[in-house]
Structures are given as C-alpha cells and as structure tokens.
C-alpha cells in the first residue's frame, strides 16, 4: 500500500532557528486511514498541519502527499480542510460560502445547488441558517458549515483541526458518523484534536507529538487491549451485600486486582476489554453486580498523560 502522507526528518524553525516547532519529525500515514494527532500545547501539531496544508514551508526534511509537495496545486484539488479558527468570510451566508468554495474548486458546474444542499443537510445545518450571515452563526453552526465546505469536491484527503469543538453531543455523534462514511469511501483523514475520547472512537492510529517529534504512535485496536482502570459503582441499597472480600475475590478470579474499594465505588486494574467483561460477570455471579462500570480514564488519555509528563525523548 502506498503512503498517503510521508514526512521524513521534517523540521520547521521560527525566529531564525531559535524555536524549533518541528524537530526531524518522521511519520507516515496510509491511504484511507483516520489518523489522529495529539500532544500538549506548543507541541508542533498545528505547525505540522500548516505544513500539510502548504501554508508553512518546512525548513528542512521532506513532506509529501501522494508523492507531491503539499503546495502542489494538484494536491489542493482533492484536499478538504476544516480550520480550528473558523475565519470564514463572515459577511457571506452559509450558502454563499459553499458556492464560493465550489467556485474556488473550479467546479461550480459540477457542484449544483442541489449538491450543496445535500452537503448542508448532511452536516445537519438548519435550513434557515443557510441564508443567514456567517457572522451570526454559533460555534456549532460554524463547525457544521466548515465541515460541509471541507467535504466539497469529494476530497481524497481531509485535514481537520478540532472538528468537534463547540458541537453538542448529537453533533459529535454526527461528525463521527460522517468521518466513518468518508473513511468507507477511501478518504484519508488527519485529525488534530484534544478530544481524546472521540479520537479513541474513530482513529485507526494516533501519534503523540511533543517538542516537534513523534513520541509515541498508537494503533488504536492495540491500545484498546492495553492496561487500564475500570471504575465500578454500586447502588446505595446494596450497602449490606457488597463487601470488600466478595469484590476482591470476584475480581481476582477474573485475573484483575482491586486498586481501591470504598463503597459504593471501586477501581480495578484490568488488562483489556475481555478481562473487564470477566470482572463484571464474576461480580454478577457473586450477587454483587455493579450498577455502573466504565473506564475510569480513557486509554488515550492515560497515554497522553504518561507521555506528556515524560521528557522529549520519552523517558519518564
């Protein structure tokens, strides 16, 4: 499989080399992949996205998109981009913005109003908002029209910066669904986001960037099977039945260990989802089924926190 995006020793310096936003970053993204980029503030994520967009020129190293330079006009014919700061031309209406971008794509004829309407409906932007000026849009509406313009021209590569920020839970679900649909079409999607729980649900791989280098690269299906914490919560009525001994035994039988128990909650160290299911099942068999069981901390979140507190070479 050929590489959709390839960055080799990518370096970007600012202030005459005093600031290294990217420091020999090496990364490859496969076609049709949903790739997440996470990292603390100032890590170089936005600089990397700007280089992908051709808005910033690398100081050294190579960055290729389907074997072409990011500022190659050919790349921009099939690239969709949703910026973090939605600096759209605010005097336009949503519909005008869509037509403007269809015009910039040189395909107003191929993008009739019906196609634009379909896209606006797809992102569930309320119909009255289509003819309202963008300056009057809420953050969530801006995000929706931004996603609709990014999807214009059936892009092969989508660059999304904080796509779900400002969206309500329904909008978040919708965007996840849209991204899955785009992935099914073979679109490569790169997402820069701090919404780790959402990245966990949709990404194939996630890179943790810090100090301009890739510190860790996680394959999400492997990450899901990793160690984590399971939080259990019982209803207050079960006070008499749920004892420390019963819980510890049920947990131990599943191969896990209890980290803390203080009725009505317990934290259990687990390795993977199977173990998690066994713990819950054993507790139910012991007659102390928890009312709620959920991962105490997203697995990506624990990777983030672990990597963020280690030094730039990954040593804690």
């Amino acid at each position: 499989m050929s590489t959709a995006i390839s960055a080799v020793d990518l370096t970007k310096e600012f202030a005459s080399g005093r600031v290294k936003a990217l420091n020999k970053l090496t990364l490859s993204i496969e076609p049709g992949e949903i790739f997440g980029i996470i990292g603390p503030n100032g890590a170089g994520k936005t600089t990397f996205m700007s280089c992908l967009l051709g808005a910033l020129y690398p100081t050294s190293g190579t960055l290729l998109i389907d074997g072409k330079n990011p500022d190659d006009i050919e790349v921009h014919r099939w690239l969709g981009y949703l910026p973090e700061r939605l600096e759209f031309t605010k005097w336009m209406t949503g519909m005008e913005l869509m037509k403007f971008h269809a015009g910039l794509l040189n395909q107003p004829a191929k993008t009739p109003d019906t196609k634009i309407e379909q896209l606006l409906e797809r992102v569930q932007l309320d119909r009255p908002a289509w003819t309202r000026k963008i300056k009057n849009y809420s953050r969530g509406m801006l995000q929706r029209v931004g996603m609709a313009q990014a999807l214009l021209g059936e892009p092969r590569l989508l660059l999304l910066d904080e796509p779900s920020s400002g969206l309500d839970p329904v909008g978040v679900k919708l965007f996840q669904q849209l991204l899955r649909e785009e992935k099914a079409k073979g679109t490569t999607i790169v997402i820069n986001s701090h919404q780790l729980d959402q990245l966990e649900k949709i990404c194939d791989r996630v890179a943790f960037i810090k100090s301009g280098i890739v510190q860790t690269l996680e394959v999400m299906k492997d990450t899901v099977a990793r160690d984590g914490l399971l939080a259990l919560k019982w209803s207050l009525e079960a006070n008499e039945k749920v004892t420390s001994e019963l819980v510890e035994k049920a947990v131990a039988d599943a191969g896990a260990t209890v980290q803390t128990f203080e009725f009505p909650t317990a934290l259990v160290n687990i390795s993977g989802e199977e173990m998690s299911a066994r713990v819950i099942s054993n507790l139910a068999l012991a007659g102390v089924a928890p009312a709620q069981a959920f991962p105490n901390e997203g697995r990506l979140e624990s990777i983030f926190l672990q990597s963020a507190t280690s030094d730039s070479r990954g040593t804690p």
Partner: protein, 244 residues
C-alpha cells in the same frame, strides 16, 4: 484571473458600509457643490472629465487593505487550501479594484453630466464614457498596483496609511518649494507622486511610437514591478492558522 476571487472582492467591498459611505461622500459632495453653483451662477465647477480627478480617491477607499485585510482576517489559509495559485489571487484582486474604481469614475461623470443636462441629447454629447472609462482604468491600475504591493507587505489597511503619509509629505514639499522657494523640493515631490500615482495620459497616445515615451515606460515599470513584487511577497508568505 480567477472569477471567484474577483466576485469575492466585489462582494467584500459591497459588504463594507463605511467604505461605501465614504465613497459616496467623496463623489457626492463635489457633485452637490457643483450642482448648487450652477443653480446660483450658471458656472460649471466640474467639467466633463472632472471625475478622473477623483479616481485616485476611489482607489484609496476601495483598495485599502486589499490583501492585508484578508491576511489579518485569517481567511487566506482556507482560500489557498483550494486550487488557487497565489499570483491568480493577486492579479484578480488588482484588476477588480481597478475596475470598481473606474466604474465609480464613470458613474460620477454620468451623474455630473445628468445633473447639468438631464437625459437630453446633450447628455450623450458631453458624457465621455470611453475617455473617462479608459483613462480612469489606466490611473486606477497604476495606484492600485502600488497599493496591492503595500497591502501584501503590511497588515490590515496600513497600505492606505503609507500612501496617505507619503502624499502628505509630497504636498508639504510642494508647498515648501512654492512658498519658501526651497530648491529641489518640487522635484522630490513630483517624483513621489510619479511613483505612488503612476499614470500616463491616453490622449497623448496618437501613434504607435507614442507608446515608447518615458511616461508610458515609467508607468509600465512601476505597475508591473509592484504586481510582481506583491506576487513574490505572497509566494514567500507563510500562514499559520492557529496556535498549538
């Protein structure tokens, strides 16, 4: 040239009510004064081609921040994420601003003539649409090329500030020459105007040979130099769309 960018530039201007107000005031006040003078004394304070004198002012108002404002507003990363070449963007903006300024000059000339003659046969005799349209376009292309270059260099609408400042300096130098008789000041002033307001008069072009004069050469050198410079600056410009 990119039709979509040209249309956006026009709509951008039409969505700036303050600028439209300034533009209408710039053209409306002298027209009103001229009209009132004619009512009182039958004297004509604005001649048939007076609108040409206002072309530079129209360019000032329309071209202010033509590129710098887009940079400051942060819309360019999204525009350039589309298959738009940066030179296309610069040239489209330049041509559109010049066209709008020329249309404003034509409208002003039409209103001036209509106020004097009404829509009579004399109107069509005195309304020199071709002369005004083509000469104002030449003038607008010159000044807007300078403003496009300054706008590519400076943020927001600072370009108009620089042109205004240099024009003021040139006027002061001109006054110094005429009232204080400081030698050489008039020449410096003239050169500043020649560089910042490049133009040549179409009425002086009667034969093909007339195209090869110093004035025409200077106009083309300044105009193409400014546009080439603006393209080079924009090609080098980096746009970061956010902060980590």
């Amino acid at each position: 040239m990119n039709k979509t960018i040209m249309l956006m530039t026009l709509k951008q201007f039409l969505n700036r009510p303050v600028r439209i107000f300034v533009l209408v005031a710039c053209a409306g006040l002298p027209l009103m004064m001229s009209f009132m003078t004619r009512q009182v004394s039958r004297a004509d304070s604005l001649n048939d081609t007076a609108a040409l004198e206002f072309t530079n002012m129209f360019v000032w108002v329309i071209a202010a921040g033509v590129i710098g404002q887009d940079v400051s507003d942060g819309i360019l990363p999204l525009v350039f994420s589309r298959p738009v070449k940066r030179y296309e963007y610069v040239i489209s903006k330049w041509i559109t601003v010049s066209l709008i300024a020329s249309v404003c000059a034509i409208i002003m000339a039409a209103v001036n003539t209509a106020l004097y003659f009404g829509f009579t046969p004399q109107f069509f005799e005195h309304f020199k649409i071709i002369i005004i349209g083509s000469q104002s376009f030449v003038m607008a292309m010159g000044l807007s090329a300078v403003m496009v270059l300054l706008s590519a260099l400076l943020p927001g609408a600072a370009d108009v500030g620089v042109v205004a400042l240099l024009s003021t300096i040139a006027y002061i130098l001109m006054i110094m020459q005429s009232s204080l008789h400081v030698p050489g000041m008039g020449e410096v002033s003239k050169n500043i105007f020649n560089v910042f307001y490049p133009k040549f008069m179409l009425e002086d072009i009667n034969t093909f040979r007339d195209l090869f004069t110093y004035e025409v050469g200077r106009y083309f050198v300044i105009t193409t130099g400014c546009i080439t410079g603006a393209i080079a600056i924009l090609n080098q410009k980096e746009f970061s769309y956010g902060s980590d």
